[in-house]
């Protein structure tokens, strides 16, 4: 065998003979896409209102800017809502292939469209979504394939292997970032740590050891850099994974303790450590109880619905209409576009055709409606609408656009948690608009909640600064 052939053989073995547990893929699909759906609905949707920019926007690919339209709030809201819908569909195992492709396009479009989103972990998610399009999630059990007794225990997937390599690249470069005097001296870490308890602990430790003021920070900074190099290697070499899969989640729990305001990055990473690095035996052990639950759910499923029943045009049309109607209960701009898109996606998944999944079309239809319902619950059940309109109103007021700002404050107040409505701020805007009656009405509304609304004269907090995330 020539040298070139040997390299080709190694390449082929590394990528195309790489095996992964099917249950690992199932867990990845459920956890990663489930988390992403909630992230989109709970965390990202409230910030869609910052895309009300007039004409100014800079995309992540600035040379494309002359050719792409300026984004607006409705479009971004719809992008996030529909992306969440598709992501939850994948998590449940519904139309996974089409949904992954559509989700990758929509999520990446939203990310690349504007530098207002400069979170690095959102870029990482774009890459993972792209790779997930090539992962054989079709063999994992879900609502499209509840029972697959012939499915193998392990499956070959070059895309899954590439996910490991991608995460390794991320850790390698982030470790390189720390190989400089500003990080290793503890200077940068000292500026990151803002939690008083941790600062006191570090100071006490330095005093106890007789170190300089930054001594503990320097020690921790060295440990973090070396650990990140180690993890970069561990993602490639299975023998190192037991150490990495224990230390990794601990590191990201520490990041959460430090309150670094980096969205759900730590939760994604803790999930990735469990899903990718837990040794097979540990993984299977942990997955066993879940598998049992799945088996019981399958039995119950069999009793309640008739498996493999003929798909019906009525079921497809009815459930897609119901799905769209439920989605319309989201109280945000752009919900019409999102509802129609969710309805069409449901129709496409359920429309009768020869190669439809063997599971019950009724169950699949109900699942689609349930996803739309969970979207409404995730948004209405949190402070999402309040934040959405409050951020929007605050920005409009800052830019002197008082009429629309007043309208957005009205909407925000309609969704405000108890005691947090911005009556005083809104009354002030009405005064500036020369609408004393509205100002008085708003003040009276505020007086009804006086003890709690004393703080409403506080200025609107600035929206989170982009790119605080690692």
């Amino acid at each position: 065998m020539s040298g070139r052939e040997a390299i080709a053989a190694r390449w082929s073995r590394f990528w195309f003979e790489s095996e992964v547990l099917r249950s690992r893929l199932t867990a990845f699909r459920v956890v990663f896409f489930g988390l992403l759906a909630l992230d989109l609905w709970v965390l990202m949707v409230p910030h869609a209102s910052r895309h009300d920019l007039g004409a100014f926007n800079v995309s992540h690919v600035p040379w494309l800017d002359p050719f792409i339209p300026a984004p607006d709030t409705s479009i971004f809201t719809a992008l996030y809502l529909v992306s969440g819908f598709l992501s939850m569909r994948i998590a449940l195992g519904l139309a996974t292939r089409e949904s992954r492709i559509a989700l990758t396009v929509l999520y990446s479009t939203a990310y690349l469209w504007s530098q207002l989103d400069s979170y690095q972990h959102h870029y990482l998610i774009c890459l993972l979504l792209l790779l997930s399009c090539f992962v054989p999630f079709e063999v994992t059990p879900g609502l499209d394939a509840a029972r697959a007794p012939e499915a193998p225990r392990v499956v070959r997937s070059w895309a899954a292997r590439l996910i490991y390599v991608q995460v390794s690249i991320v850790y390698f470069f982030t470790a390189i970032t720390k190989a400089n005097e500003h990080w290793l001296s503890g200077w940068a870490l000292e500026r990151i740590v803002r939690v008083e308890g941790v600062r006191t602990l570090f100071a006490d430790m330095a005093a106890g050891m007789g170190w300089a003021e930054l001594g503990t920070y320097a020690l921790v900074a060295h440990v973090i850099m070396l650990w990140q190099f180690f993890v970069a290697v561990a993602f490639l070499f299975p023998r190192l994974r037991p150490v990495a899969c224990v230390t990794g989640p601990l590191f990201h729990v520490l990041v959460e303790v430090l309150d670094l305001k980096i969205g759900w990055f730590s939760y994604y990473m803790i999930g990735i450590y469990y899903l990718l690095l837990f040794p097979d035996r540990w993984f299977v052990g942990l997955a066993k109880p879940l598998e049992r639950v799945g088996t019981y759910a399958t039995h119950l499923f069999d009793r309640v619905v008739r498996v493999g029943e003929a798909p019906s045009v009525y079921v497809a049309c009815g459930s897609s209409a119901l799905c769209a109607a439920v989605a319309l209960l989201v109280p945000l701009e752009g919900v019409g576009v999102a509802a129609v898109t969710c309805g069409l996606a449901t129709l496409a998944a359920l429309w009768p055709r020869a190669e439809l999944p063997a599971t019950s079309s009724v169950a699949r239809a109900l699942a689609h409606v349930a996803i739309a319902g969970s979207m409404v619950l995730a948004i209405r059940g949190t402070d999402g609408p309040w934040d959405y309109y409050r951020f929007w109103a605050g920005d409009l007021a800052r830019r002197g656009e008082l009429e629309p700002a007043a309208e957005m404050y009205e909407r925000a107040n309609a969704h405000a948690p108890p005691g947090r409505a911005r009556h005083a701020r809104l009354a002030e805007i009405y005064e500036r608009l020369g609408r004393p009656n509205d100002a008085e009405r708003t003040r009276q509304q505020g007086l009804a909640h006086l003890p709690a609304t004393l703080r409403t004269t506080e200025p609107e907090p600035p929206p989170p600064t982009p790119d605080r995330a690692p």
Partner: protein, 129 residues
């Protein structure tokens, strides 16, 4: 030997994921850390001040653009500064004979050395033409 399409995809993907971060280290722009996986970098800890002038008169953009763009300007994100300058120059083009838009961006040095200007003080309407 014929290359599988999957092999070609892997090769292109890997090359892009190695070259994109390396591009940061080859660039003269320290402040744009996108796509380089520079989590918690010392550059991220530096603070900048941005001062816009038009015809030598200070003209802060605060009331025109979303507050997150101002934050990106204070982080000396060059593509945002350039895009805003272009927008201002285009806006002034029909109304002023020779528009003069300048941005002075001054940043802390990570190690506490004296502050340094990041942008040359030039008329951006001429240099970006």
């Amino acid at each position: 030997m014929k290359m599988k399409p999957a092999s070609a995809f892997i090769a292109v993907f890997l090359a892009s994921q190695v070259l994109l971060p390396l591009r940061y280290y080859a660039s003269d722009d320290d402040f744009d850390e996108r796509f380089a996986w520079r989590m918690f970098s010392p550059i991220r800890m530096t603070a900048c001040e941005v001062e816009w002038t038009e015809d030598d008169v200070p003209r802060p953009p605060d009331a025109e653009i979303q507050v997150a763009w101002l934050a990106l300007m204070r982080r000396a994100r060059r593509s945002v500064l350039v895009a805003y300058a272009r927008a201002r120059c285009a806006d002034l083009q029909g109304r002023v004979r020779e528009p003069d838009v300048r941005a002075l961006v001054v940043c802390d040095h990570p190690d506490g050395r004296p502050r340094r200007p990041v942008t040359p003080i030039v008329n951006l309407c001429e240099t970006l033409r």
